[in-house]
Symmetry: C2
Subunit: 333 residues, 2 copies
Amino acid sequence: MNKQWILSKFPVGEIKEGDLVYQESEIPELNEGEILIKNIYLSLDPANRGWMSGQKSYVDAMNIGDIMRGGTIGVVEETNNNDFKKGDIVNAMGGWQQFCVSNGKGVRKIPLDTGFPLDSFMSIFGMTGMTAYFGLLDITKPQEGETLVVSAAAGAVGSIVSQIGKIKGCRVIGIAGSQEKCDWLVNDLGIDGSINYKTDNLRGKLKELCPKGIDIYFENVGGPITDAVLSRMNIGSRISLCGLISAYNAESIAPGPAWGNLLVKRINLKGFIVFDYIKRYLEAYQDLSNWVRDGKIKYKNDIVPGLENASHAIKKLFSGENNGKLIVQIADL
Amino acid sequence: MNKQWILSKFPVGEIKEGDLVYQESEIPELNEGEILIKNIYLSLDPANRGWMSGQKSYVDAMNIGDIMRGGTIGVVEETNNNDFKKGDIVNAMGGWQQFCVSNGKGVRKIPLDTGFPLDSFMSIFGMTGMTAYFGLLDITKPQEGETLVVSAAAGAVGSIVSQIGKIKGCRVIGIAGSQEKCDWLVNDLGIDGSINYKTDNLRGKLKELCPKGIDIYFENVGGPITDAVLSRMNIGSRISLCGLISAYNAESIAPGPAWGNLLVKRINLKGFIVFDYIKRYLEAYQDLSNWVRDGKIKYKNDIVPGLENASHAIKKLFSGENNGKLIVQIADL
């Protein structure tokens, strides 16, 4: 039998009890070309909330009754596909379930001889690390001595972005939602300054910590933080638009910041989705793995045991309670 | 004596009687290195409103008591500067006045043997044409077959952008504020379709006229038009952020559109200011002059006689009453 989380209602505002329903179904027989994957890890990400909206965006809309969509790492248990053999460890959109049947499309093998733990391929070497790497380096092309501001800086993506910024010689200022997170950014990750948006005077602190203005803004949040950052940005500065977590639970679409600063400061803003970079993941892996081995990048995973806890755990992303990349452990390897 | 418009109050909302005051002063003696320019034409542009705000933006803030700032064409009447001789026709930031004294910085000579009328150097070959040329070609790099939407399409800049779009093989849809303007765009300038935002169903018309979505948006206005356009834009599309005329008279800063579309559609938005391209103006002049000679670009100037009418005339930009590039004729050549 296969335990699964099913999208039962399109959430309005926060995800609530009953929007996702936990159920059991039979594991189907494999057709020609298909594989059966036992899911080990499930990635929980802010973007998941958007997928639940019933609106087509950069992925097809989910329908009521669908297995909740999610990125997974699993092991191939049965195979009718010559590209995969039993025991292969694979990355897939395996969904919130114990087992998934796939025709192999979009399923990528994870190398086993890297010396890194398997859960690192759900975070630093998974979508999280790829998002940070391409979103910062490809979109904004940071130069030594520039000032980089990162929102949700203690989050899974933001913390990697912040450290890559340091590697590239930037002055890095992180915005986060607790003193503990702010301290971790400066003391453990070695960035140049941090701002607690819940307690600090955001505009005053930005002025103090970014005396030469802001050259690059890595945007994860939207809302009033963005307004404050825009007002300190330099002429010819860049924005990497990665996420807008403050908006994902909104019941109606809130307006954005006025475009006046984008105009008079000739800002270049670019939205991106990490899937656009799939063909270049190896390039990112090579850099990121070297940086992790050299101790230049640290990462934290917040692993929640048990698939049954997934619908509760995902709420931590929006309350900011997670402590590192949020992952559900569905089974042991 | 020198008649001048002086900034007497920072306007709140629309420019009102008394914000600008018409007065006379003596023409000062020339110092070493200075020239005296008799102003012939004064350019009136939406951006002028921003200059009156008392806020530093891409130009220094104006102060109360300053001569109102403006781009001019004039003739050198006296010279203490070896770079200029009496009779030179020059482009300068000569201000809203009959005569201006300059040290020659930022003053550019206009060639006399072009076969084009002098007022064309206030429009198609002036800031207007340069803005259209670089704002479309450099910022968005239009490709044959792409769909370009232009707001304020019947305006001085928008009408040039629309025609350059056609020259580059785009499907061009213009948004304007009257049926007469909409008809002129399609019948006289030959663009593919136009939308009267005051009477048409904007979203419905965009859908009908842009069946393949929108690849490029040339933004002159801001406000609800922008929201509607964003919702039809394609993945990987581009926005050239040239102006936000709907906001210039606002008494408080209105929010902008939500950034969700910029993110999921991976839109590249770039603000620009034409002055950044000064070193490349000749390049634009060469293309634009060929296109005008070949009949591929038409332009209209709306010339208001008399400096005394400047403060009244500028309001036409915001009501949409101007009919072509708005220019004040201060004197005859």
